[in-house]
Amino acid sequence: MAQIVSIHSFRGGTGKSNTAANLSALLAMEGRRVGVIDTDIQSPGIHVLFGLSEEDMPHSLNDYLWGKCGIEQAAMDVTPRLKADLKGHIFLTPSSIKAGEIARVLREGYDVGLLNDGFRELINKLKLDVLVIDTHPGLNEETLLSIAISDVLAIVMRPDQQDYQGTGVTVDVARKLDVPRMKLIVNKVPACFDPEVVKAQVEQTYGCEVAAVLPHSDEMMILASAGIFVLRYPDHQITATLKQALAKLLP
C-alpha cells in the first residue's frame, strides 16, 4: 500500500522543498518508486533541486488541473538527471513556473477534487511506493487537503520565534484531521545549539516527536538548491540524520 507523505512548514524558507527532495532521493536509493508533487502552485520551486528549468517541463500540474493532460503525463522521471546510483525511481510532477500560468491559477482557482483524484491516480498509474507532497507554506486549501489525506506529515521548522507559533497551529490542525503519523524536523539549527536540548524542548512544547535536528550547514548553503544534498554529500552528518529521520517517518 503506497504511503502519502506531506512535507509542510507554516512559514516559508524553512527548507521544506530541500527536505522533500532529499528524503525522496533517500527513498529512491532504497529502491522505492517515489512520486514528488509540487502543490506550491503559487510559488513552485522543488523542480530546481532536480535540475529542471521551464523548457524541460512539457507539462505541469497546472495542465492537469486545466484538463490538458493526464496527471501521469505531467510526471517526469527525473532519475537519470540525478546521475546517481539509485535503485528506484523519482517521478516529479512540477507546478508551472510560467508567470501567466501562475496568474491564471490564482485568478480562476481550480477543482480541488481533481487534485485529490490526481494524487491517487499518480500512485496507481506510476505504481508508486511513496508519494511525497511538497506543500505551500502556511495553511490554505491545497495544504489542508494534503495534510488531511496524508499517512505521514513532516513539519519542518527553524529554531525561530515566528516558526514556533505557526508550527503550533499546524500541529493542532493535523491533530484535528487525524493524521496517522506526524513528526517535526528542526532545520538550520545553529552549531552552538545542543541538538539533544533542542529536540527535548521542541518535543515538550508540541507533544510531538522530533524526527531530526538538522544543523545549519555551509555546504547546504553553497549547494544553493543546485542539487540533492544527500547525493552530493553521502557521508555528511546531515545525510546520516536525514536517513534516521526517514526511518522514523516511514518505519
Binding site: 490564482l106 477534487g113 495553511l139 488531511a148
Partner: protein, 111 residues
C-alpha cells in the same frame, strides 16, 4: 444520550447546504462527523458496505446518513457494479477576488 446515528443526523440537518466542502470546512465539523468525512476523503471513495463496516452502523442508518450528506453537498454518490459508492465533494478553489484591472495589468506584463 442519543446514539451515533441520531447525533450525526441532528448535526448534519442543522448545517447549510453547500456546493461541495473545502478542506477548511472539515475543521468546523464535530469530531464524529469529521471522522467520517476524513475517512472517505482519505480513501478516495468508499462503498456503502465499507462505511457500514467502519462505522458499525446498521446499513439502513448508514445509507440514510450518507444520503443526507449527499443532499447537503458534502458527498457525491455514484454506482460501481450495482453498489452505491461515495466520495467527498470538494468545493472548487475560488480565484482571488482582486480588482479586475490588477489581473489585466498582470496579463499585459506576463504575455
Amino acid at each position: 444520550m442519543a446514539n451515533l446515528f441520531d447525533r450525526l443526523q441532528a448535526e448534519i440537518e442543522t448545517r447549510q447546504r453547500l456546493e461541495g466542502i473545502t478542506p477548511a470546512d472539515l475543521l468546523d465539523l464535530s469530531p464524529e462527523l469529521r471522522r467520517i468525512m476524513n475517512m472517505i476523503l482519505r480513501q478516495g471513495e468508499m462503498s456503502l458496505t465499507d462505511v457500514v463496516f467502519e462505522l458499525d452502523l446498521k446499513p439502513s442508518e448508514a445509507r440514510e446518513l450518507l444520503s443526507t450528506l449527499v443532499g447537503k453537498g458534502y458527498l457525491k454518490a455514484f454506482e460501481v457494479e450495482g453498489e452505491q459508492h461515495y466520495k467527498t465533494f470538494l468545493a472548487r478553489k475560488r480565484g482571488r477576488e482582486v480588482p479586475l484591472n490588477i489581473w489585466e495589468a498582470l496579463d499585459s506584463k506576463v504575455r
